[in-house]
Amino acid sequence: MDAFLTRDERRFREEIRDVIGRILPPDLARATRRGIHLSREQMALWNRLLHEKGWGAHHWPVEFGGPGWTPVQRFIFESECARADAPPTSVFGLYLVGPTLYTFGTEAQKARYLPPILSGDEFWCQGYSEPDAGSDLASLRTVAERTEGGWVITGQKAWTTEGHFADFMICLARTNAAVKPQAGLSLFIIDMKSPGITLHPVLTIDGGHSVNTVFLDGVTVPDDALIGDVDKGWTYAKFLLAHERTNNAQVHRSRREFERLKARFTGERRTDPGLRRRFALVETDLAALEVTVLRILIDQTQGREPGPEASIVKVIGSELQQTISELAMDVLGERALELPHDTADDEAAGWTERHLFRRVVTIYAGTNEIQKTIIAGTTLGLR
């Protein structure tokens, strides 16, 4: 992708690469290669190390602690983090809660909650989805009732990633049953240590634990736990989904993993014509996705609104993640069939776990079917 970068940006990349090379602990890189369910400690450590450089939240505005980078610089930074096998930072605090709070929160909320997200000291989870409201948030049933000086929240949240070690939940709850389903929702901050919260771990298809079901049984929150206005939660939630969609493409992780896979693809199998062909096709699609993401970011740099191509990177990126991990399974052969926890082969364990877990990427954050419906309607104008 060098053809798209300015000389300054390439110099910036060298600097970032150099710093990351120095600050990233090797066993964090190894843990990132080996699996996807990292511990809070591992993610927090990396967040803290970045924060020391002023890069704790590289996409936040400068006034809230961001480094003031252009979208292309962020692209480069993310790419370099992936390239070094740095662990992902926790997506909920940094991508979901932070922007929500600095856009819609009170000054007090910003002052209280943003700094510990930035530093990696406090973790968040999302409380949007419910057992009967996954992609269809309008039908969610968790209810928040007004009480003296606050709200009482009751309901059940599903697919709560990292809920078992989060400090807070950003929770969407119904505050008005009288209006149409999407209009009566509000956003709340819930302290996960509150009485009335019970968690059930949900194991995913790879056998790992990062997802939970959260039961909210009359959980009391104070008045200032409400974000923005009452009954406007759906608007806020939608606002966020429309931004940061490029994050869902996961293009940098895909690139890095694909480069590792190339290195693993050695010996006799390297002549397998079918596998070679699939490598070339992935290379093509991955490069195209990198350019598409860059197109969106360069548009942003030039002050233009993201064009319609922004709607497609989640669909393409998630399918590509699966294509790459399927190729990896075939490259690894028998090794990839062993239970990841049991095998001594780090690389194989990592691929197997990722491959299985990644059946989810075409389902979460709005299934690809829903994304396609949106593309057809909003982008293409099909009626």
Binding site: G134, D272, G274, G333, A336, L339, R359
Partner: protein, 357 residues
């Protein structure tokens, strides 16, 4: 496939009884079964005569044909039954001489076979002494097997029966809940190794065993997929979103139609390979190759699509459809990749690419 009315009725009765037995004794659970549990199920299956099905009549067989034995394999796949049955029901009966006592013990459920391919070589140590060297490839059930059927596919091919002492191989737990092992043969005493075949006869037998093993693996996969399809249709007809059942969305319906096309395509390939094995037809190897290819290019994506239409629940460990996907992943990854079979098939139908250059 071409059966008279009597045989068809017999087939149906057999299939129903196997399905009912497994539903009762091996209902699906995401929790791995204990060895004791599996032993109990095996003992009852033996009483039902499962392990006599494939035997020649001289060895106590009950005259079942290949199609019937494969229907048991298919049902085990449908139930995601974790015990590997292929070596016991099909491979051992195909290669052990009818007078071997092991066949009788097998019929009673007392033995467990595994089939070891790749990685092993045989060395003559005396005039009639044979020593095996090396560690075999990952073999289903090898961790609990009492006997290994070992194929050596070298300049002088040979096929051996090797009794195994318990606990000699480390159990490898697979992603689909089944277990396997890689057996090291270096320290097995020569007198314990029974030669089943040598030379060209061994080469033919190994080729036949390979095709049989692939065919059976694909029948297992067909069963798993068919069970998954039933489950998924039920789920889609119950689960509602945006005020309608998931099963009413056109995109979901079309994806499921594609799953069904894939399943029946795979079933056809499995049936072809079975017919070719039964007739020992020249197309036997071609059909087995095609079946393995079909497993990878139709079966596995179909399982993936069922996860997709199931949504979030599809990726949880406690829901069955993910285990269908994992069982097929294991079947596709064991015993040689589909990519290799694609290459073989290309060379078969087009001639060698390299030589043509």
């Amino acid at each position: 496939m071409r059966r008279d009315a009597e045989r068809l009725a017999e087939d149906t009765m057999l299939r129903d009884s196997v399905r009912a037995f497994l539903a009762e004794r091996s209902p699906w659970t995401h929790v791995p079964r204990t060895a004791a549990d599996l032993d109990g199920i095996r003992a009852e299956a033996a009483e039902l005569g499962w392990f006599m099905m494939g035997l020649p009549e001289a060895a106590g067989g009950v005259g079942s044909d290949l199609e019937q034995v494969l229907s048991v394999i298919e049902e085990a796949g449908r139930a995601l039954h974790p015990e590997p049955l292929v070596a016991d029901l099909l491979l051992a009966p195909a290669v052990l001489p009818a007078d071997r006592p092991e066949l009788g013990q097998l019929a009673e459920g007392g033995l467990r076979f595994c089939y070891v391919r790749a990685g092993v070589t045989a060395v003559r140590t005396g005039s009639d002494e044979i020593a095996l060297k090396g560690t075999g490839g990952l073999a289903l059930g090898a961790d609990r097997a009492t006997h290994a059927i070992v194929a050596v596919d070298e300049d002088e091919p040979a096929l051996f029966l090797v009794p195994l002492s318990p606990g000699r191989a480390r159990t490898v737990r697979l992603i689909d809940g089944r277990t396997a092992a890689r057996i090291a043969f270096d320290d097995i005493a020569s007198q314990d190794v029974l030669v089943l075949a040598r030379g060209p006869a061994a080469r033919d037998k190994i080729a036949a065993l390979d095709d049989l093993a692939v065919s059976a693996a694909v029948f297992d996969a067909v069963g798993a997929l068919a069970g998954g399809l039933e489950l998924t249709v039920d789920y889609l007809n119950q689960r509602r979103q945006f005020g309608q059942t998931l099963g009413s969305f056109q995109a979901v319906r079309h994806k499921m139609a594609e799953v069904y096309c894939s399943l029946e395509t795979l079933r056809s390939l499995a049936m072809w390979s079975a017919a070719a094995i039964a007739a020992n037809a020249p197309e036997r190897a071609t059909a087995a190759r095609a079946a393995k290819i079909g497993l990878a290019v139709h079966g596995l994506p179909a399982a993936g699509k069922m996860i997709q239409v199931s949504g979030g629940i599809g990726v949880t460990e406690e829901y069955r459809i993910g285990h269908v996907y994992k069982r097929l992943t294991v079947a596709a990854g064991l015993d040689g990749s589909a990519e290799a079979k694609i290459e073989e098939l290309a060379s078969e139908i087009l001639g060698e690419g390299e030589k043509a250059r």
